[in-house]
Point group: C2
Chain length 294, copies 2
C-alpha cells in the first residue's frame, strides 16, 4: 500500500515509432520517459522533426534491429509498413496501433509477413470524440489498450507490446480482432455517427428551436478539418459500423411505427409498445429484441 | 448597471396551481416567494399536502375567482381542467404548462372553452433529461419559457402569464404551438429516444465492449420508473417526433449504404459520400439534403 511511484521495469531498450501523429508521438514520449531509446520516422519530415523537438525521440535512423516498432499509420498502410520492418530488419517485433484491427491483421497475413512477430493494438484515447488530439506522454494513462494477437503471435512479441502498454500507463485488454471491431463500432463509432447526423439536422433548424435545447448550444457536425481521420476509421470498420447502424435504424423505425399508430387510433397499447422499446428493464420481449433475435 | 436585486412587481395577487408535481410545485414556490397567495390542488391529497409543507401555498380552496390558474397536469387532461376552471369561476386566466402545445390547445378549443382567457406555456427545465425532477423555486431561473397564445388569447391573459414567467426568473419566448412541438421533437425528444435506443443495445453488449467506451460507463435506457412521463410526452407529440426520427432513420440508412458500398468495391467515392453525410460544412449538396429537399 505504498504511495511510492515505481518506475516500471521495461525490457525494451530501443524502439522505432513509425508515424509521428498524436498517437505515435504520445507513445514515443511515454517510451522515452521510460528510458527507451526511440527512433522517429514519418513520411512528412516536418512532422517527425516536430515530434523530436517535443522530446519524443531521435530522428537518426536506427543502426540495426530495434526491439520493437510501433506502427502508428492509417489502417490501410499497416500491412505494408509491417512488411517493410520485417524485410529490412528494422525491428524484432511490430505492434500496430490502428483503431480497427481485423482488416490490418488480415493485410499483414496477406502480405506474407511473419505473423509470429506482429501483434495488433488499439489504445483507447480519452477525448478522441472532441476533436484533434495533442500528443502528450500521459495520453493513454488509465485508459484501456486492446491487444489483439494473431493465433501465431509469439509470447515474446506479446510481452514487448505489454511493455509499451505499461510504459504508457494504460491497462492491457486482450481481445479478438473481430470482437474489438464490433465493440468499437457499438460503443464509439455508431454513437458518433448518430451525434453527427443529429447535429446536421439541428444546423438546418430554425434558431428559435435551438434555444429550447437543454444547453441552448447547437452541436456541430464533424468539422471537415476533423473528419478525414474519422471517415477513414469508419471505412476501415465499415461492416461492423454498418451492422450497428442498421440495427439502430430498425429500432427507430419501430418507434416511428408505434408513434404513427398512436396518432392514428388510440386503441393500440402504444404506451406499452414504446415503454418496451425505450425502457426495456424487466421486459424480456425487448431484451430479446436488442439481442438481435427479431 | 446596479447589482441590486429588484423584486419583480407582479400584478398577480392570487393563483390556483392545479397539479402539485415537480413543475406545478416549483411554479407555486416561485409565485409564493413573489408575494402571490397560492392555492394548491392535486388529485392526490397527499401530493398536495407535501407541496404545502414545502411552503408552496395553501390547501384551502380559493374563495372565488383567482387571478390565474396554472394548469400543471398531463397534456391529455389540460382541456378538461381549463374547462372546469372557466365553468366554476376558479380563475380569470388559465396557463397550462404541458410539454407539448398543439394537442392541449386544440382540446381547449374543442371543449368550448373561452380561448381569450387561456394561454399555453412550456417551461424548459434544466436536467429534465437526467431523471425525476425535484420541486424548487429556482427550477426555471434563466431558462426559456415558451408561451403559445391562441389567436384569440387576450393581452391581459398574456400579461398574467408573463407575470408567472417573471416570478420564476425565466425568459419568455413567444412561439407558435406547432413550431414549439416541432422544435422540442428535434432538440429534445428525438435525441433522447436515440440515446435510449443506443443504451438498450449497449445493455445487450458483452461487458468487454463497454470497457472500450469513452467513459467506461454503460448508459442506461429510460428506467421504468422515469419512463411514464416521458412516454406520455412522446405520445402527446407523436407526429412531430415521428417526423424527426423518420428523417434520421433515412440519414442512417444512407450512411449504412455508403459503408456497405465501401465494403463491396473500393471504386465508389465512399469517403466523399460519408464526408458529405457527416461533415456537411461547406458541402452544398448535403446542406440541401438536411433542409429536407431530397
Amino acid at each position: 500500500m505504498s504511495t511510492l511511484l515505481v518506475q516500471p521495469q521495461l525490457s525494451l531498450r530501443t524502439a522505432l515509432v513509425i508515424g509521428a501523429g498524436p498517437i505515435g508521438t504520445s507513445v514515443a514520449l511515454a517510451l522515452t520517459a521510460g528510458g527507451v531509446r526511440v527512433h522517429l520516422r514519418d513520411t512528412d519530415p516536418e512532422v517527425a522533426a516536430r515530434a523530436a523537438e517535443l522530446g519524443a525521440g531521435t530522428l537518426e535512423p536506427p543502426g540495426g534491429n530495434t526491439d520493437l516498432a510501433v506502427v502508428a499509420v492509417p489502417p490501410g498502410r499497416v500491412g505494408a509498413v509491417v512488411r517493410e520492418c520485417q524485410r529490412r530488419g528494422l525491428a524484432r517485433h511490430t505492434l500496430d496501433v490502428a483503431g480497427v484491427k481485423a482488416g490490418p491483421l488480415a493485410d499483414v497475413l496477406a502480405r506474407g509477413c511473419d505473423p509470429a512477430r506482429h501483434i495488433g493494438g488499439h489504445p483507447l484515447v480519452e477525448g478522441a470524440a472532441d476533436g484533434p488530439l495533442t500528443a502528450r506522454a500521459d495520453l493513454f494513462r488509465g485508459r484501456p489498450w486492446v491487444l489483439s494477437p494473431l493465433p501465431q503471435t509469439h509470447t515474446d512479441t506479446l510481452n514487448a507490446a505489454l511493455d509499451v502498454v505499461t510504459a504508457c500507463g494504460a491497462t492491457p485488454v486482450l481481445m479478438d480482432a473481430a470482437e474489438h471491431d464490433r465493440a468499437v463500432a457499438l460503443v464509439a463509432q455508431a454513437p458518433r455517427v448518430l451525434t453527427s447526423l443529429l447535429a446536421a439536422r439541428l444546423e438546418a433548424a430554425p434558431p428559435g428551436a435551438v434555444r429550447l435545447s437543454e444547453t441552448g448550444v447547437r452541436p456541430r457536425p464533424w468539422a471537415s478539418e476533423d473528419s478525414r481521420g474519422r471517415i477513414e476509421a469508419l471505412l476501415a470498420n465499415a461492416p461492423a459500423v454498418a451492422d450497428v447502424l442498421e440495427g439502430l435504424a430498425g429500432d427507430i423505425v419501430a418507434v416511428v411505427a408505434a408513434l404513427r399508430a398512436a396518432s392514428g387510433d388510440g386503441t393500440a397499447d402504444t404506451g406499452g409498445r414504446l415503454t418496451g422499446l425505450l425502457a426495456p428493464h424487466g421486459t424480456p420481449a425487448v431484451r430479446n429484441r436488442t439481442d438481435g433475435s427479431s
